[in-house]
Symmetry: C2
């Protein structure tokens, strides 16, 4: 059971597997299986799930059923249903489907921005402004967040200056989004950099500082989450089984594994609201919908430590 079932958890784990994970595997998970998996994740205690992205079906056929998946997710009590939208058109569809939260990827790397959304960074900020205006007009209670992708480096251009990241985050905040997170799209981040950049981000945009979205490409995913936690970050993106990556950032596979992240935080005495045993059980729904796909996660393989109990705070 969660550490403190009657009060709010210490951190929010935002599960991105149904979007980030499923869009980066070759197979398309059937809609019914997506819904079962999302139900199982919700049953494990996850309260924010990125369930789909609203993009043209010819680009990402895995996401063609986004509206249907959203419709199911909206039936799950207490769940914040989130969808990724790369542009105004996607936002229109997501708002029409009734999502609670939009997340917009905004690349700090000029090269990646062009590759991923075919827009300059400046044009993307304009798009964010348009999405916020649409939200204000049509669904004012819907949250909008921006995720600064390639914030820690880019497989196309290499170094991404921190000033670019901070400038872009400030632009997005000024454009009216509620939160701006930092994404290590490419698995380049290191803990010192994570600490420094989140600290500078907070100095720049204060309490609009959003989630840490870390990849485990070079094995540093959890260390980077720890570094972000130390800097006061309290929302963490993660993906069950470590599914995920970016199709337009070659070699950048591997979101942080939700199971290992939840284990780390709970073992530290940081409540996540997620029941680890039920979370591990949810892998069966994922496996059923994506047979043969390799799943990652050390905690599911090794099992919980002898005598480990969630809710026994050690910190």
């Amino acid at each position: 059971m969660p550490s403190t079932p009657t009060s709010a958890p210490d951190v929010l784990i935002s599960e991105v597997g149904p979007r980030d994970g499923l869009q980066s595997v070759k197979a398309t998970m059937p809609t019914a299986h997506k819904c079962q998996w999302i139900t199982a994740l919700h049953a494990a205690g996850l309260r924010e799930i990125e369930v789909a992205s609203f993009v043209p079906a010819q680009l990402l056929p895995q996401m063609a059923d986004a509206a249907e998946v959203v419709r199911h997710a909206l039936t799950l009590p207490g769940l914040t249903v989130m969808a990724l939208v790369p542009n105004l058109r996607g936002a229109q569809a997501a708002l029409a489907a009734g999502v609670h939260k939009l997340t917009i990827p905004v690349s700090a790397s000029a090269a990646h921005s062009l590759a991923n959304v075919r827009k300059t960074r400046e044009a993307m900020v304009e798009e964010v402004r348009n999405i916020v205006a649409l939200r204000d007009a049509q669904a004012p209670h819907t949250q909008v967040e921006a995720g600064i992708s390639t914030a820690f480096g880019c497989t196309l251009q290499g170094l991404v200056p921190e000033e670019d990241v901070l400038w872009l985050a400030a632009q997005c905040a000024r454009a009216g989004v509620g939160e701006v997170g930092l994404s290590d799209t490419t698995g380049y981040a290191n803990p010192s950099q994570v600490r420094r950049l989140f600290r500078r981000l907070r100095a720049e945009i204060g309490n609009k500082t959003g989630a840490a979205h870390m990849h485990n490409t070079r094995g540093l995913g959890l260390a980077n989450c720890l570094a972000a936690f130390d800097e006061g970050v309290r929302t963490f993106d993660a993906s069950q089984g470590g599914l995920g990556g970016c199709p337009y950032a070659p070699g950048a596979s591997g979101n942080v594994v939700t199971e290992d992240l939840v284990f780390m935080l709970e073992a530290m005495g940081v409540s996540t609201g997620v029941d680890i045993a039920k979370l591990i059980a949810a892998r069966e729904a994922l496996k059923a919908g994506l047979p043969g796909e390799p799943l990652y996660g050390m905690t599911p393989d090794a099992g919980l430590p002898k005598g480990f109990s969630q809710g026994a705070r050690h910190a």
Copy 2:
């Protein structure tokens, strides 16, 4: 090249693969291959290698050539040649072979102590005292360290009280060892616990505080190393390819991968003295000596980030 080739590195990476790794795989690496692998590790810049354990050959046939391996390692300039010794008899053999440093595993878990060395913890402290006396008499310049195993929990008894760890560490320090490290033999540690226990250890034994020996059993290995680094630890055990574990702590496989640890630290601007490219090249020597054995490590698979250069400090 190392960040600061002319000055001492910021941290010492103590490679334990030739001992901890090789004693936990089924196959026995031929002596000539062991020597080639150790040579390759030394060429990558590693300056402390645990090359063997001195134990009865019928218990660990993989270590039957310990003296021969030590003899080769002693020819490598600037290398601290370390060997594990579980008892006085092992220490006699290791000192006769001419090692620079002995490491003695001392279990904080009563159950693991009996399973691993068939001694109570008190009897083991007595053994440490005898080893130190032998060293004083025969080879006064040889260093002796104790590694407190199961310091963060035990697969046999579960919880290991911190008071037991600190008591045992103090006993070992009083028995005359130069350093006392903490080992997460079972992969149970979490970053909060690592910080707290190293802080308490330093309060207890001051500058005799030794290495962090972390396992990656549940994926937290690097996060735990980061936590230890934050607490001032500057020596880290790691194993190339993540080989290793403890034959008497079931399910406790997986030392921290040297390649990923060195990448994390160097990316943070912490110099290790190790050349990552040469370190990755040393995997070939390991593979040649242990064909078919699975090797771990995310950095070797993913490659270094675009534009990454060792020695460009980011911190």
